[in-house]
């Protein structure tokens, strides 16, 4: 058996092509069945807006690559010359590496984005439902999930936010530590801020105040965020308590001047305050950033931080690549275990030798033995060898076991009987 992968992604194909080749979710089951009819033992299809990949366990004697391509052409009724130049294909180790990288989000448009893992899991569970996943794909995919998990926890590929709203949250955390117990003031009820608000709200800010020139809109937004609407006239007073201020009013000029903030910072005993100004034109005088313990970021500043985070992620991605490489190697070497012949031969000869040695020792002690006795003892030893080996070996050969379990079992046998030196 061999592992074959054929696909295209955002680097090899423009969006029009990707759309043509994408599989609608409700057609996926049927497509998988079709793949199985073309002779594959197992199959899985991953179809997202950035990539379409077909992964299959193909019998050794078939040309898997050609068959999978054929399947794509036929399924989407596309002419081969039109599609072929956008396709890539990988075999065995390379296919394993590719699927590991995809799951770890190293092959994504934005490295470290976390959606892809969910999509891969979804594709896997759909294939499981369709009954097209067996031992082999099962173990490949589960390993891919654990590699993705390792990549995320052991490297920083997903550690630093790249979206503007999560950058704002990250900055707030760099100032205040945990955000629990902090107060958020929303200045203006503009649409732009909503995503940032949701992010902040979900990261533990305990109190939300909303203030706006038109109180109705403030009330509305406050209700949707489980916050409190505050009259606009009390803005200065609010600054005494609020730790994070998001401004997104439609006002043409500064709503808060340097003097306002200067006064506020003294009123609040110099506790730090963080302004996020996402309105254009800006509503808070950028000069406030000069004041001690005041931090002011407008949309451009947030973008600069996001770019720096992106660079940091790319640095981390190199480490993640190394990690994937290690995993591919160890996985490939375990797959080799499935070549059973040397293990079986080793096991047999080991047990035979033990029994043979014991037999010879006993024979030496039995001085009055007859040839018939000796013959019977030899036969008995042979039977013991067979009876011990048989269940051990047939367990190794079982096809219906989980592959991980199977490999674990083979490794245990090899350790128990010290067979490693022979391989």
């Amino acid at each position: 058996m061999k592992l074959v992968l054929v696909g295209l992604n955002h680097r090899t194909a423009p969006v029009e092509i990707r759309q043509r080749v994408a599989f609608p979710e409700d057609g996926l089951q049927q497509a998988l069945q079709e793949l199985m009819r073309s002779g594959m033992r197992e199959a899985l299809i991953l179809s997202t807006c950035n990539r379409v990949e077909v992964l299959a366990n193909c019998p050794e004697e078939l040309d898997g690559e050609a068959l999978l391509k054929q399947f794509l052409y036929a399924y989407h009724s596309l002419a081969p010359p039109f599609l072929e130049r956008h396709l890539y294909s990988h075999l065995n180790d390379k296919a394993v590496r590719h699927i590991f990288r995809v799951a770890s989000s190293l092959d994504s448009m934005v490295v470290g984005e976390t959606q892809i893992l969910g999509q891969v899991k979804e594709a896997y569970s759909l294939a499981c439902q369709a009954g097209t996943v067996g031992n082999y794909l099962h173990s490949v995919m589960n390993r891919a999930f654990s590699v993705a998990k390792r990549a995320r926890s052991e490297t920083g590929i997903s550690a630093f936010s790249v979206s503007i709203s999560s950058v704002a949250v990250e900055l707030a955390k760099k100032i205040f530590g945990e955000l629990g117990g902090r107060t958020l003031l929303i200045l203006g009820a503009g649409k732009m801020g909503e995503l940032a608000l949701k992010h902040l709200r979900s990261s533990g800010v305990s109190q939300v105040w909303v203030t706006n020139r038109t109180p109705e809109r403030a009330q509305e937004l406050a209700a949707s965020l489980e916050g409190v609407a505050v009259p606009f006239e009390r803005l200065q007073e609010c600054l005494r308590t609020a730790d994070i201020v998001i401004s997104s009013t439609g006002a043409p000029g500064f709503v808060l001047t340097r003097q306002d903030v200067q006064k506020a910072i003294l009123d609040r005993g110099r506790r730090p305050i963080f302004f996020i100004d996402i309105s254009v034109p800006r509503n808070v005088d950028p000069e406030v950033h000069q004041i001690e313990n005041v931090y002011y970021y407008d949309i451009d500043n947030l973008q600069t931080v996001s770019a720096a985070n992106r660079r940091e992620r790319e640095r981390e991605a190199r480490l993640a690549e190394r990690l994937v490489e290690e995993e591919v190697k160890s996985f490939a070497s375990r797959l080799k275990l499935l070549n059973l012949a040397p293990t079986i031969a080793g096991l047999r000869s080991r047990i035979e030798r033990i029994c043979q040695e014991e037999l010879e020792r006993s024979l030496r002690k039995l001085s009055d033995r007859t040839p018939q006795h000796e013959e019977e003892l030899r036969l008995m030893t042979a039977r013991i060898v067979n009876k011990i080996c048989h269940p051990l070996i047939s367990q190794m050969k079982r096809q219906d076991e989980n592959l991980e379990f199977q490999m674990e079992y083979i490794e245990t046998i090899k350790r128990m009987f010290r067979l490693n030196s022979k391989l």
Binding site: G156, G269, T304
Partner: protein
């Protein structure tokens, strides 16, 4: 024998330092784990050395300059572990261990056989005086390190161009927490230590105050921290100002501990 044990502690500290610096650069949790493991072992070995020395000398081994260096290193490492347990700041090692390693290196280089002690330096009172003062210095070093981290992180946030420090250093809030905590640990320790010193001086020398250079420097250091704490609580000083004050305070500590002896004329052996 003791020299040998001290050398092992030094080696472990240096190993921990290297892993901390690597961990800081590469941000690998594994490296931090190795670092805390080696430093932890180093600390135990160091403690063993202190116990052996105590047994050998028959009194707390804090009567010579080398012993003071070694005890200071030990106290700083203790502070490192306490604050690590409380705040889980991984990068702390990269800031603290350079001092620990160099103190230990000096200890090992300067180490020599037992010298005759001047009368009066032995005794429980003077030992407690020295222990308290050195523990206070260790706490002030933590204050200094948190001030440094605060200023670096604050600079990142103010320039709005995140670099290596932005990603690795803890939040401003955490730096401030550690700063106040260590400051408020160090100050009472120092106050108590100075008090012990003056009382001892009165008993042995018959006067509380001798205008010894170290006494003057220590008084100045104590005043700097007093003013800093005073401004913190009555004037609401925060952040950068407190950080600068803490750095000034620690420079004064260094001068008191290492510098003032060279002015001569004092009766402090170190």
């Amino acid at each position: 024998m003791i020299q040998f044990v001290l050398n092992i502690a030094l080696a472990l500290y240096v190993l921990g330092l290297l892993h901390s610096l690597l961990g800081f650069y590469a941000k690998r949790p594994l490296l931090y784990k190795i670092a805390s493991g080696t430093v932890g072992t180093g600390f135990l070995v160091h403690t063993l050395a202190l116990v052996l020395l105590w047994a050998q000398e028959g009194h707390f081994p804090l009567t010579r300059f080398q012993e003071a260096l070694s005890f200071f290193a030990w106290a700083v490492t203790l502070g490192f572990f306490l604050s690590y347990l409380k705040y889980r700041i991984n990068v702390l090692g990269a800031f603290i261990l350079p001092l620990v390693s160099s103190l230990m290196l000096s200890t090992c280089l300067l180490w020599e056989e037992r010298l005759e002690l001047p009368e009066g330096v032995r005794g429980t009172w003077v030992a407690i005086h020295t222990i308290l003062i050195l523990l206070a210095y260790a706490a002030f070093f933590l204050t200094f390190v948190s001030a440094l981290m605060y200023l670096l992180q604050e600079r990142e946030l103010k320039t709005k161009r995140p670099s290596i420090f932005y990603f690795r250093l803890p939040s401003l809030q955490q730096c401030e927490d550690l700063l106040y905590r260590s400051l408020m640990t160090g100050f009472p320790l120092m106050t108590l230590g100075l008090l012990m010193g003056t009382l001892w001086s009165e008993r042995i020398l018959g006067r509380f105050w001798s205008w010894d250079p170290k006494e003057i420097a220590a008084a100045a250091t104590w005043l700097i921290y007093l003013v800093l704490i005073q401004y913190r609580f009555t004037q609401g000083w925060r952040g950068r100002r407190v950080a600068y004050g803490s750095i000034l305070g620690f420079i004064s500590v260094l001068f008191t501990f290492l510098g003032s002896s060279y002015l001569g004329g004092g009766y402090h052996t170190f």
